[in-house]
Symmetry: D2
Subunit: 137 residues, 4 copies
């Protein structure tokens, strides 16, 4: 699988991602798009913490990343996803430092509904959370 960082629509994808105020607040950045994966990174920011004792990011932030990475993966890799129909997330380990890296893959592109999965890794590549979204066209 060749990396396609020069893919002409990567800049366009970045612009689209930043139309959403919440994505700008999260400081999201599209890192790479290959034929099979979309990779989005999010820097740490202290407001996202849920448990201040261990300094762990809120599960809702990880869910947000999985949701949007799945949606952008569908749209970047040939499908049409306008909105999230539903989302399932498993939380595996506390996310205690950034950047958080979300890797999205298409599960199935459909006419009415597409499904994508995403996993979130910390800077040490350990799996922090994973899940899947279904997106309506």
């Amino acid at each position: 699988m060749s990396s396609r960082t020069e893919r002409p629509d990567l800049a366009e994808l970045r612009n689209k991602l930043h139309i959403a105020p919440f994505h700008r607040w999260l400081g999201l950045n599209i890192v790479d798009l290959t034929e099979r994966e979309l990779i989005i990174e999010m820097p740490w920011r202290d407001e996202i913490v849920s448990n201040p004792i261990i300094g762990a990011a809120h599960g809702g932030i990880l869910s947000t990343l999985i949701d949007l990475t799945g949606l952008y993966t569908v749209n970047a890799l040939g499908g049409i996803g306008r909105a999230t129909a539903d989302l399932c997330v498993d939380f595996h380990r506390p996310a205690t430092s950034g950047p958080l890296r979300a890797i999205g893959k298409v599960v199935k592109l459909g006419k009415q509904l597409s499904v994508a999965e995403a996993r979130i890794e910390g800077s040490d590549k350990r799996l922090l959370a994973s899940g899947r979204g279904a997106y309506v066209a």
Copy 2:
């Protein structure tokens, strides 16, 4: 089911909720706790918008609300939930104004794992999103 707004631990629950920096950023408020439901409200803030054309809140914000409302419901109604194991959310309608009201109910309290459900309503009481979380003790 009588409303128990005077329930002595409601203030304590509010304090706990605000230990999390992300909960403070969201401006969460515990509105009511009855024998069967916990109600949490979140005011609108412009940073949570995903789609700026219709001004809809990000699905990740709704997922956050369902996640935390389920967790606090488990703990407020007799169970022990330390962390979210997994989360499933269905998105029903765009959330375009606040406050957003999340209503949590226990599905099953368990020794290892408890399950709670939550629904989110807009100010017109229409159902915006709903889902369920499983929480490890």
Copy 3:
């Protein structure tokens, strides 16, 4: 909520349910349909056991019940569901005797997608499993 056992389409619903060979194998019976709930029962049969030591029904059988009860609930209560898009199930307790009773409720009827939830109770009314399905129109 008045029970509407005389609802004219209950017989029709039973016929539809039994078009599916797997539903006939399961011996499903529609017990009641009210304005808010559809209730389906399944007798015990020894082939459905997963764990023979405690004689517990297979989680896949409980998932089947939740899936089909949600689908029939959507169609019985004003929506259109042709096929299941996705399904989430939580397993709460082993199901060790029958009949198993599934109670379905509509969460949201939509043009493209409807969501229904269902819970399964044993003969002692204890909650055995619960979940939700999303159904495409």
Copy 4:
């Protein structure tokens, strides 16, 4: 990743799988176990049909396959899974002929909870359904 069909515990795994009466009814067979995947096949049988017009297998049968394949994957690949806590399944295409092949992969092995994913392919290798289960130790 070398295929390890000679792995000594494959016969043992087959025996364990067949302890469950429902697994015997389904005619399940463990086809292969590698370092990363467990593959289970199920022959067609007419009782599993949901929609007799197109002859499609019931979604509950596909859910069953995903559930059990995830559980056996956890146990075959170093984890401990005693029972399914919850299950999420996406249905992608009708399954209209057999054998159905389920391929399981570990997502995360944990002390309290392990997560595995599984996909189901038809004889033409097309993706029919996919999902993930969380299993308590």
